[in-house]
């Protein structure tokens, strides 16, 4: 894999250890992720993928017993420093969760939420942003006449695209996705995959997935985790055709077989 210059690194973890109480869940993880790429995190259940993903927007802060050593650097800045406001960080680093979690509000209000909490009142700006975000998440045509309807009336796949739109409305530069399609049917899944492929023009995307084919289809680079270790990190095609580590090989073939 090519070596990144300091400027090219969008996200970086340096000697990262993470503990929940006594238990160590990430062991000396080092990774550097390039801007405008899609990076997939794969590995067996419980190996620490979600935990790692959530260090990038500090969602672990709320977990009791969470402790980390090492650094997470985004755009050259250590995001765990005292002076960093997590609210600001999370506007820049959007997140989409495994289960669609729209707010019990209207479709419009869901997408406008991020702007509202920032105190933006300009109606025209809000409307434009809502439209733009829904178009980006390929949902606009399906909901443009129903913006006043409850978001809970949408299908699961639509809800997930709404959650993506909601995150995009904040114009983040990074999008973290934790198994965003695992609760969805194949058609919705393929829509989300197409979407991710388009979004990488503007965003740096990190996605956790259990679906090997999916990782193969949508990601530029893949990181394989096993019991808290980052075993192998390389271009996706290398990982899938010619992995250097036996454990990677086993995991991938085991999954396909």
């Amino acid at each position: 894999m090519e070596k990144l210059s300091i400027k090219e690194k969008k996200l970086e973890a340096i000697n990262l250890d993470v503990y929940y109480g006594q238990k160590q869940v990430l062991k000396n993880v080092n990774i550097a992720i390039k801007a405008n790429t899609v990076t997939a995190f794969i590995g067996p259940s419980g190996c620490g993928k979600s935990t790692f993903l959530r260090t990038f927007n500090r969602m672990n802060d709320y977990v009791e017993g969470f402790r980390k050593e090492g650094d997470i650097i985004i755009d050259g800045k250590d995001i765990y420093q005292k002076m960093v406001r997590v609210e600001e960080l999370r506007k820049k680093v959007g997140m989409v969760f495994q289960k669609p979690n729209p707010f019990p509000k209207t479709i419009f209000e869901n997408v406008a939420y991020g702007l509202k909490i920032q105190g933006i009142k300009n109606k025209k700006l809000i409307e434009e942003t809502v439209e733009k975000s829904l178009k980006q998440s390929a949902l606009w045509d399906e909901v443009k006449d129903d913006l006043k309807k409850s978001a809970l009336s949408l299908s699961g796949g639509q809800q997930q695209r709404l959650c993506i739109a909601r995150a995009l409305a904040l114009e983040p530069s990074i999008l973290l996705m934790d198994e965003p399609a695992s609760a969805l049917d194949p058609i919705s899944t393929s829509k989300i995959e197409d979407l991710i492929w388009e979004l990488k023009e503007k965003y740096t995307i990190v996605i956790v997935t259990h679906n090997m084919q999916q990782a193969g289809r949508i990601s530029d680079n893949t990181a394989f985790f096993y019991m808290g270790d980052l075993v192998e990190y390389d271009e996706t095609k290398t990982i899938f055709t010619n992995p250097k580590q036996e454990r990677t090989q086993n995991y991938i073939t085991g999954r396909f077989g």
Binding site: R90, K91, K116, I117, C163
Partner: protein
């Protein structure tokens, strides 16, 4: 064993049916003497004076006045406490404070009544000169305090039941804790909170001892909380403990008032039932 359980259930149902039957049949005789129109529009209630009036409005206004005062205390306090407990309080604190709040609800209401009469009223009289010895204000305030735990406990359950994923969604978009609580969690729990408020309202409407002891017993069509009023419940207590002959029209007023109360709380309970049903559908 199954039999015993069934008999218990049947007894309960029969008792309820019996109560409703007596209530309606006795008030039926009442309404043969007094037209429903007079009952609902006459602005005076004086069933035992020489010049008899049977207008329910003064009792209804007394009931609503004390209820509204109590809700003005209980709703903001109860909901705030609920939000604090579910979103802010450390686990430990929550663990200890919840049972303590519930103790508030288990104090006998007659104690609250005398507290209102002998402590709150004299205290308020220092600041509000025209406050009667018996008044709607003290009774309402104390009733509000009594009802706080009912709202806070049920509302907290509703807030706590909001899925964790919604909290994460809000935090994930850069919401502060305050924004998460008030703009996402509170609306998501709103139906549960509204139900708790309606149930508390019904409780306040039906509350008897506090108002009987502290608000007085003077049917009085007024919106002035400083005045002595009579609620429907207080009237029923006073009338039943007095010495009116059975089968007299005075005696039957008890049932007419009772029916009014029954219809009122029945409607409130039905509304809360409907909301609860909709709420369940939403989160399944």
């Amino acid at each position: 064993m199954k039999r015993v359980l069934m008999i218990c259930a049947i007894i309960t149902v029969l008792t309820t049916v019996g109560i409703v039957w007596v209530l309606f049949s006795e008030s039926y005789t009442f309404f043969q003497h007094v037209s429903i129109w007079d009952f609902l529009t006459d602005t005076k209630w004086s069933p035992v004076s020489t010049e008899k009036h049977f207008g329910i409005l003064p009792l209804l206004s007394g009931t609503l006045l004390t209820t509204i005062i109590s809700m003005a205390i209980a709703v903001p306090m109860g909901v705030t406490i609920a939000i604090y407990l579910s979103e802010y309080a450390p686990k430990k604190f929550r663990y200890y404070i919840k049972p303590m709040l519930e103790i508030l609800a288990s104090v006998p209401t007659v104690v609250y009544g005398f507290f209102a009469l002998t402590v709150v009223t004299p205290f308020l009289q220092n600041y509000i000169p025209n406050l009667s010895g018996f008044n709607a204000l003290s009774a309402g305030l104390v009733m509000g305090i009594m009802i706080i735990p009912m709202i806070s406990s049920l509302s907290e359950d509703a807030l706590y039941a909001v899925p964790k994923s919604l909290r994460e969604g809000a935090y994930g978009m850069g919401s502060t804790r305050l924004q998460t609580s008030f703009q996402v969690i509170l609306p998501a729990a709103s139906s549960g909170i509204i139900v708790s408020i309606i149930l508390a309202f019904a409780r306040a409407v039906g509350e008897t001892m506090i108002v009987t002891v502290a608000a007085g017993n003077m049917a009085n069509l007024t919106a002035d909380p400083r005045e002595t009023v009579a609620t429907i419940t207080a009237f029923i207590v006073n009338m039943s403990t007095g010495d009116v002959p059975q089968d007299s029209i005075e005696y039957q007023t008890i049932f007419a008032a009772g029916v009014t109360l029954f219809v009122f709380t029945f409607i409130l309970n039905s509304i809360s039932f409907l909301i609860k049903k909709r709420f369940q559908e939403k989160y399944d």
